[in-house]
Amino acid sequence: MSERVGVYVCHCGSNIAGVVDVEDVSRWAGENLDDVVVSRDYKFMCSSLGQELIEDDIKKEGLTRVVVAACSPHLHERTFRRACASAGLNPYLFQMASIREQVSWTTQDKAAATAKSKAMIAGAVERVKLHQALEPNEVPVNPNTLVVGGGIAGIQAALELADAGYQVHLVEREPSIGGHMAQFDKTFPTLDCAACILTPKMSDVGNHPNINLLSYSEVEEVSGYVGNFRARVRKKARYVNEADCTGCGICIDKCPKKVVDEVFEAGLGYRKAIYRPFPQAVPKFPVIDRESCIYFERGTCKACEKFCPTNAIDFEQQDTALDLAVGNIILATGYDLFDSRKIPQYGYGRLANVYTSLEFERLCNASGPTEGKIVLRDGVTQPKSVAIIHCVGSRDKRHNTHCSAICCMGALKFGHLVMEKTGAEVYSFYIDMRPLHKGYEEFYDRLLEEGMHFIRGRVAEVTDAARQPGEEGKLIVQAEDTLLGMQRRVPVDMVILMAALQPRADAKDVGLQFGISCSMAGWFTERHPKLDPVATMTDGVFIAGTCQGPKDIPDTVSQGAAAAARVQGMIAVGSVEVEPVVATIHEERCSGCRICNNLCPFNAIDFLQDKAVSYVNAALCKGCGTCVAACPAGAISGAHFSNEQIFAEISGLLYDVVRGNGAKALLPVEVPA
């Protein structure tokens, strides 16, 4: 019995119809392609009316196969599958021909576009006739969630889920949660102190019955699939027993070893060998830094142990491994600050009074190394003039092409703080001012009112080589003022570099570990840049905050909450449908060569030792077909992508050749000479 195929050609307004002669295409398909019993064109196939058209035809004309020629399947395959299903047709007996992305958007040549659309529809028709009815698999969703990264994004996500009544494992690499936000002094544009708004959330995390906080820990291995992940977490030895420690801090007072704190104090302050990064740290338990501890170096000291009132110090503690079973994962791993030494002409690391933005946050912070006094590197002198350089390592082809999104506002904030605390003159050297969000432009206006100086021009260099009177002993900032059209040399006491936000140095490895991809630069790639910003192409793995791209605190918090909402949706449904478009290995033909094992980008293929054959985990398989093509024995078949289906599609695409009509068969009759 032959199939009854319906073909539907979409105009997509003028997106397709502007280039492709859709009426001609639809008429041609109806008249020339075998088994096509209905062929229509319609303004918007994806509209309810368009879908109803298909549903009616399935019922009235008894269609057994449907082809829609429209946009990319990425956008509307799901829509039309649903339409088929609601009319009682198995949704996998449907095929889409992408005549927008692959035809009308790629050319202005109407004749060629029309011919190619016909070929693609012919391919789809030949293919769909060989489609098989498939049923999606359903797997249960574990209601526990793993959140990686305890900055404000991870904190927000964890709290949202925990408050909704679900169990969360929050893994943080550093001894305390809080992330970059905990290092900041004030937050723009409202100037409320970062700690004041952050620490309540941090202690909520610390005390929440639904949150298992794993600080000073790292995820080592991830396996499984949506709804059923397993994660191995290594809890690094703190050398402090959390059960006994009261967090009194005597050990820190008594520790004789002081080292530069390169993480929390951004290298601008000191900490002890046993330390808590900052007073409000969560958890409150200190950590012994093995690298700098005198006992670990020389075998004596143990001052902390001697003075600990609860005997909580344990030098014998070892790293421990934890295995967690979770249904969903939220990655909120944050950003690294650009290394300003890479722009040597700005003098960072060479000229003492050049600071990075993060150093200045600590300088300004009341709990920082100077207790909030803004001073030069000598620790005493207040600056009388300060230059702030924007876009250091951002919007720069040599380093990062992106805009770091927060530096303009950060610079305005710094300008305000410098003027308020020291009365110094502040010069901001910017390329463009980008105060984008709510209340930001008003903050910019406020700083203009307050008398901050704005010079539009990228700084050429910061130098201590004086040239003119008044420059001796100063840092001279040279830039072309592009509004005045002249070179300016501004002598100042202090320079602040607004360093770029960069992807974490290990972002690509982390992406690989969790099976998600990164952009060329190293930001995690979202499922859709506009419409699905917190999901990834891997089901069950979500991203939030600056690991996805530079953003400020409000945007970061929104993403944390959004990712949590997506996870809650998964948990609420309780099960997830897994695409049946997967590969299957025919055991009797598999030689056990294992070539496919390492090729699979989704780690979906296991090797069954007992049977000596490979096996595809259907829940993990994305149906990409890599293994199908690679198998030397032809032992793997891809559902929905069988050889017969592919060959049928190709023969349809080559309609004109197969029918012996030459290349002109598909062209409209009136071709201009």
Binding site: P344, R398, E461, A465
Partner: protein
């Protein structure tokens, strides 16, 4: 290590100590330099703004000549201007096929042709630092330059522009010469103006502008108490050295900072006689500075090439007086 060597016009005359020291040092370091046969001027800084086709053809002729010499893949230029022009021509002939075609059409008149990318144009400093390597050089040092405070001056053309990131050093704040001088045992002072302009040919067009640029450099080196300035470019050396007395007169200053080539410094550290390296040929004598490392030498060494003889049939130049 075998290279085609393009000395450039300066090294034939005013910068003869650069040429002498380059040849002496390259031999000691195992750099085999094969001089490009029948090379011509690179056009320096001005010609490109006068006649583009002629300027590119002028440079490309050297590339074509070097490329057809037996199996040489790398072309070394000691002069920053020559280096830039050679590199620029190679780069743009490849990037803009139309330009490549026009240039090759011009070369065809002389029976030559150049395929862009067939040579790698490199600065002498690049080859010394990266091919010979600092460790190998340090191992050969017999007279460390200990106690000598040197300001490393790169000028503007050696590392700029980048041409798709192909510079061998940071274009804004280069450090390779600093590393080399440290390997020779010298004390390298901070020299913030290390990649600023020396004025180039502005001494001929607007002396006041050039003098101010030269003064800044001298002042900055003096501020950091440098005993001498080390350069990688004959133009920089000429401006800082030969014009130093004039700059002093102009600004009523009293700078006395000798300016030597990096190849001369290598030679001294390898124990070569100063005279062989052309040391003493500079206007501002390096005698006092080099006495710090125990070097003594004749102030006006023999070895400066005689002025090229004029063609006997040539007519006198306007204003020329006396003996022909």
């Amino acid at each position: 290590m075998r290279y085609a060597y393009y000395p450039g016009c300066s090294l034939g005359r005013s910068a003869w100590p650069y040429d002498a020291s380059t040849r002496a040092v390259s031999e000691a370091l195992g750099l085999e330099l094969v001089e490009v046969d029948d090379w011509n001027c690179c056009g320096a800084s001005e010609y490109f703004s006068l006649n583009k086709t002629a300027a590119y053809a002028l440079v490309a002729r050297n590339l074509a000549l070097a490329a057809r010499q037996d199996g040489l893949k790398q072309l070394l230029a000691p002069c920053s201007m020559c280096y830039l022009n050679l590199r620029k021509t190679d780069h743009y002939m490849g990037k803009y096929p139309k330009l490549g075609k026009t240039t090759n059409a011009a070369l065809a008149a002389g029976g030559l042709n150049y395929t862009p990318g067939s040579l790698e144009v490199r600065h002498l400093l690049d080859a010394v630092v990266n091919d010979v390597g600092l460790e190998a050089i340090a191992a050969k040092v017999t007279q460390p330059l200990a106690g000598l405070r040197v300001a490393c001056y790169y000028g503007c053309l050696m590392v700029r522009p980048e041409f798709n990131g192909s510079s061998f050093d940071d274009p804004e704040y280069p450090i390779q010469l600093d590393r080399l001088m440290q390997a020779l045992g010298a004390e390298v002072v901070d020299f913030p103006l290390k990649a600023h302009c020396c004025g180039g040919h502005m001494t001929q067009i607007s002396a006041d502008t050039a003098f101010e640029l030269i003064r800044r450099l001298l002042h900055n080196a003096a501020e950091y108490q440098a005993d001498l300035i080390v350069t990688v470019c004959p133009m920089c050396q000429l401006n800082l050295d030969a014009y130093q007395p004039q700059v002093n007169r102009h600004f009523k200053t009293d700078y006395h900072i000798p300016v030597l080539y990096f190849t001369q410094m290598i030679g001294l550290a390898l124990g070569m006689a100063p005279e062989r390296l052309g040391v003493g040929g500079e206007f501002v004598s390096a005698a006092e500075a080099l006495a710090k490392i125990g070097e003594t030498f004749e102030v006006a060494p023999a070895g400066a090439p005689a002025r090229r003889k004029r063609d006997e049939k040539a007519l006198p130049m306007p204003g020329q007086k006396g003996e022909a």
